[in-house]
Symmetry: C2
């Protein structure tokens, strides 16, 4: 019949839309994509709310078992649930592609994602440049292409939304080598770690080309957002250095690097400032 | 008690979240912001769905009668409904500000907006640059600052989301001069009009500085999106020239100017192409 790809929004089981909930209830099987983002509630809460079982779909399953997910979808409805909006992640592109090949209609049901909900920090959505991703650095792998993108944005006085890394169902090198299906606990990058990595890259780049204007410095104003849309969401603004030590609590975290702020934007952001004096000192604000 | 600012999503009464619907039902008064965006259903459908009356809040009311909207909000809950996400528009910033002054807690409830739902056209959200607005040209007023922003985006190979103008509750110059409260019918910019204006600006700019690389030409690939999230949504890709004459039906319309497309993006967009041959001829596609 139909493959529904349903956005769950950002927080808990009640952030699904009424349309999405009706679709879920019409489905014979329900899968939850659980490796690019998370809600603050587990699948048990979803199952209780829907009155139906929910199957966790990990990366392996979505990427290699599309036909299992789509089994009988020409006769029954199947729901594929995605945290945020269905089109926020690209992970299920293959699934949708496969459904189309099998002539199974795909109906997406939209919802909030961090890409628009970030507006709650007071920086207007139409003043953002390209979004960047910051992944966990390792001793030997420190991908820093975000730096050039942030630089392009700040050169144009635009804000930058930084999406922070999530590692789910990772194997240690040892377990992988031995073929043991033992997985590490999930890791969600904190704002503190993101700030550390940003400062590390800043130092490397500044040392390499001391004459060029940096994308940001330790005194640049940024806004950290944790658990956007939840009752206990936390938004704190400050310099990168100030945010190094702020405790934002549990996941998910995001970070915005402010470009030039309109004074009305600055007013809202300042209300979140960890220190209003340093905010006034370092914020770049336009009066018109 | 609480001012809820509730996103309604993009299509009809059932795009509200379950959390949003519960909030609405707890409210003594419900206002609908109806001048920056619209659903495909009228307030009667919302009233029937909520089982409560809904008051249309026009610009005048939101900007100058915040205290009427907030009356008794220290004792009862008040809902302010916004099409899309609460933070998509800036129109109610003053209302939220006034509530804060009166120590009334403000709780936003997020939802989809075109800023993230546009992902449905196949161009990935993290490959967009700054969003631009295109307003109705008049004989004497043709604001074209969008051109420079689009140029910055396409120079960086990024896509551009163009939000198209809405005119609600406008007065003719004559009626305004005579102080008559007679309003013109609402106008929603079509994709065709946006394309005409884009081409007009292109010609002016190209004539003024023929040596510089244009932001786009009549052969640039764009994607028109109408009524995103509705059952009858329409997505068509083609060159600007090709989209001049495509009938997209009723509002709301949006337009995306494609930058360089990853081949997986191009595959999805091509499925929407009005002519696959011209698409292949003019699409700028990267293979990695």
């Amino acid at each position: 019949m139909v493959l529904y790809v349903i956005g769950l929004g950002l927080s808990d089981e009640k952030d699904i839309t009424v349309k999405g909930l009706e679709a879920v209830k019409s489905c014979e099987r329900i899968y939850l994509e659980a490796y690019t983002s998370i809600l603050t509630v587990g699948k048990e809460r979803l199952e209780a709310f829907y009155g139906k079982p929910v199957v966790i779909a990990d990366r392996e399953m979505v990427e290699s078992e599309a036909d299992v997910i789509l089994k009988d979808a020409d006769k029954v409805n199947v729901a594929f649930l995605v945290v945020g909006d269905p089109f926020g992640a690209t992970t299920h592109t293959d699934l949708v592609h496969r459904a189309t090949e099998l002539s199974i209609p795909v109906i997406p049901i939209h919802n909030a994602s961090i890409m628009n909900a970030v507006g709650c920090c007071g920086l207007q959505l139409y003043n953002y440049g390209q979004t960047v991703s910051i992944v966990f650095f390792t001793e030997t792998w420190k991908p820093d292409s975000f730096y050039d993108k942030i630089k392009m944005n700040t050169d144009m006085e635009l804000h930058t939304l930084c999406l922070l890394d999530i590692k789910v169902k990772e194997q240690s090198i040892e377990n992988m080598a031995r073929g043991r299906n033992i997985y590490e606990p999930p890791r969600y990058m904190t704002i503190n770690t993101a700030v550390e990595q940003l400062l590390e890259v800043h130092e490397t780049r500044a040392a390499a080309s001391p004459e060029s204007k940096p994308a940001y410095t330790k005194n640049s104003i940024v806004v950290g957002l944790a658990r956007v849309g939840c009752d206990d969401q936390k938004i704190v603004a400050g310099t990168l250095e100030e945010l190094l030590t702020v405790d934002f609590g549990g996941p998910l975290h995001s970070l915005v690097i402010a470009g030039k702020m309109h004074f009305l934007e600055a007013e809202v952001v300042k209300a979140f400032a960890v220190d209003k004096e340093t905010f006034d000192k370092y914020a770049v604000v336009s009066q018109h």
